[in-house]
Amino acid sequence: MSVVSCPHPLLARERITDADWEAVAGSTAPRAKAALTEEHQPIREWEYLLHDGSKLVIGVEGDPPDWAVPTFRRLGELLELAPNWDSYGACPINPDHARAAIELLMLVMQDDTPAPTVVPTNRGGVQLEWHTGGIDLEIETLSSHRFLVSFEDSATEREWELTSDFTPLVECIGKLSRRA
């Protein structure tokens, strides 16, 4: 399962008529291979052993911002938690929720946003928290595509469910980055 931003909507050929046509030969290449920006990007990977014995690999390619690697590694560590990790019957973390958290962060974080604290929830989700600059921001994964966002500063206190419109969260992250 790759986390890719801005995918071409029809990259996955799920149409049965795809067999009826061929792309035109000699089509313009999307990238020029001699360009400097195509230099080889480093890849780093970490492996985690989940409680059910399956293995998870988290890899980062390119030049990630400072917050990314420690955050992704922390998510991987939390995925290794066994059931009842909180002594009150907590569920192990659902890999789909961890992936959702990574995807969310890649979409909304700025390079200079401080890294979140990542905590597990007892229902198998993860919660990303920032408490800095007079701001309390928490984002909890409710499912693979739904989040509960809670933002509080001296002037505002709001909570909302996030599905597809990231505008208010991007504003909150912007405030957080400026005040950190």
């Binding site: 938690l81 019957g89 597990p120 800095t132």
Partner: protein, 131 residues
Amino acid sequence: MDDYTDDPTILNDADLWRRIPPYHFVSDPTAGGIRISSAAFEDHPNGTPMSVLLADVVAETERGPQDALAGHESFGLAAFTAGLARSCEQGVAREPLADEPAHAVVFGRKTKSVSRKLAKGSRWVVPPANR
């Protein structure tokens, strides 16, 4: 949750203890070092209410905070008052168990706001070790 009734014999200033796993310690310089994540104050994943220990019942059975953490030495122990829980529209009810007479529940809808108020209003009884 409909089966529980708030118990007025649990006074508002009664301390309720909750074990906090190390995964719910959050670094916060403005809060004096380590604060507790709101994620530590949720109902059970199966829907039953949040478990706590009644500090006075623990004392009556001649036990202390370290007994509440037996087998969970890396955990911390947090306390909040029954009054705080009730101010968040929660109820507090005794639910003694065979192996834990001090067991009680905090019942009521645990919105994010409720969990955060409980986290903010809690104090350490046994703080995180070596931090």
